[in-house]
Symmetry: C2
């Protein structure tokens, strides 16, 4: 079959790869209804991670179960499933605590930018729907697998409450999903920090009540001015740079939590500054599995439409263009037709 | 009257000072039932803070209202009151959010190691009891003013729940109060990290179920061994050094919160490490005012006895010995008889 392999910085190819097989009795093979490119795929693409070995790309997925190993009990061939980008058994103490992304048996999904993929620990990782969903829901169901689940976790970690004033730092796909999540959690005011018209428009569509295009000190001053010098009740940090983290901390009111889901690069936090600002912090790889049943249900009931975050759709053969478009910020997020 | 003045590192004196007066219509003057020395008083005493000007010491207090300014409405002369070490109006947005220690009008109490003290913003800061309490409750009521309130905040910020496994890092007075707070919040297991017999004994009396005397990597290994490699559900960091913070983070399970109340000195947190550990953090000066009514009630009902943390009682005239005893760790916390 065709699959997506990263051979080095900037060198991603759609090429012939072996079909995945059941390797362990807890595996499932799924036929993907669609796949997509994640912002985090751009790190190795940009040479920020090690790329000395060819890498099978893709970790967001949904589709039809093709085969299962002999120990798999909760899903069966023919069912439609969504899984998290974090493989988890969903039974270990970390999973039961709701932090499946730190599962004792955690693996990270790979090879999902392809028509077929192997999902380890299928019982713990996959959530099946009662019926096959309509085709038009596929992009939104695919989004729950990582990008929506991650934005949702940011809002959850930031403890967004009904009536909260929320600031979202970052207008990438995850930040936009954070806006959607804050809206669903009943936030009264959702301030999206964005300088790009298309992303501002999408933020407004997902529930943002205000757009702030300033950054840095000017952005912080705007947020303070908009909140009577108080700051936001909850802040979603969806970038991961030193600048974005500083902005997040300085937009937060004392006692607010920052849910941070952008993997920090070059971020050092001064303990004493954090102490006196009384800013709470909780981040990490999102435990998407915790939220999946709820998010899938919201999509099936057509209460949310996170699939709108995909503003470019390409066939798998054009995956390289999908990476380029996201790298050059011509696209927010690329959906791949893989069948 | 006599009061306590720090003239420079190691040079604290009981000497003649002017009696406090009502300076603003929102002030109260209180006659202290007792006072005490705080661990944080040792910073300037040790020369870690600026001591170029003489400083009136003391910020923990309870006593009888002697006089009030003309705008004070909620307390009146003759009432017994306890106040927080943080002066707050209890009406600003930060106060209403429960973070009175970041009140827009915040001041820090001073001059309370004396028979009389001026309390600004009396209506917001002081909590009066319905009746005059018995004398034997005074040490415990005094403790609510800062040391218990701070330990309580650590447990609150760490989100200790009924059934939680809690680790308390630091066996100073605040750490011991953190043990008491965790017990009151229903923690099933409270592991106090302490190497000192008298403090271990007090921790056990306040509700610790286990003592770990190892520190650093050995201490972390012990906690992991005691929790099936999972880590603690909640960690109270009551020291503020790089070593204690590292220990706290590494004893926490993914998704756990660390409530940190030791003012960080020389603590830098690596964003990416914190991210992948999925450790939550919330700290800062304790919003004691939020907890005061509840804590006072627990003391009046004799459900808690935080006053046991005072293991040395001295007359005000011997305040210098009180500082020395705490500095040399001969005493956990010194109560001062000021009348």
């Amino acid at each position: 079959m065709l699959g997506t392999i990263l051979h080095g910085p900037g060198d991603v190819r759609c090429e012939e790869v072996p079909e995945p097989k059941i390797l362990l009795p807890t595996d499932a093979i799924i036929r993907l209804s669609a796949s997509c490119i994640c912002g985090s795929d751009l790190w190795p693409y940009r040479g920020l991670n090690d790329t000395s070995q060819p890498m099978a790309m893709g970790h967001e997925y949904c589709g039809i179960v093709e085969a299962v190993g002999q120990d798999v009990k909760t899903v069966r061939p023919g069912q439609f499933v969504v899984g998290s980008f974090c493989i988890s058994d969903n039974t270990c103490p970390h999973c039961r605590f709701g932090f499946q992304s730190s599962c004792e048996k955690r693996e990270f999904m790979t090879g999902a930018q392809a028509p077929l993929a192997r999902v380890p620990l299928a019982d713990g990782t996959l959530v099946a729907t009662a019926e096959l969903p309509s085709d038009d829901l596929i992009p939104s169901l695919l989004a729950t697998s990582d990008v929506l689940g991650t934005g949702w976790y940011a809002a959850d970690a930031a403890r967004v409450q009904p009536g909260s004033t929320v600031v979202v730092v970052g207008d990438g796909a995850v930040g936009l999903m954070g806006v959607l999540a804050a809206k669903q959690k009943g936030a009264a005011r959702i301030i999206a920090m964005s300088r790009h018209k298309t992303r501002q428009d999408l933020a407004l569509e997902f529930g943002a009540t205000d757009i702030v295009s300033e950054r840095g000190d000017a952005g912080i001053a705007r947020i303070k001015a908009m909140t009577n010098s108080v700051g936001a009740d909850a802040v979603l940090e969806c970038v991961g740079t030193k600048e974005s983290m500083t902005q997040a901390i300085k937009c937060a009111r004392p006692g607010a939590m920052i849910g941070y889901v952008g993997v920090p690069h070059g971020v050092e936090l001064d303990g004493q500054e954090l102490f006196f600002s009384q800013t709470g912090m909780l981040g990490g790889p999102a435990p998407v599995r915790r939220f999946l049943p709820h998010l899938i249900e919201l999509v099936l009931q057509r209460k949310i439409n996170p699939g709108k975050v995909f503003d470019l759709t390409l066939p798998l053969a054009d995956v390289a263009e999908g990476y380029r478009a996201m790298d050059e910020r011509r696209a927010i997020k690329t959906l791949l037709r893989v069948q």
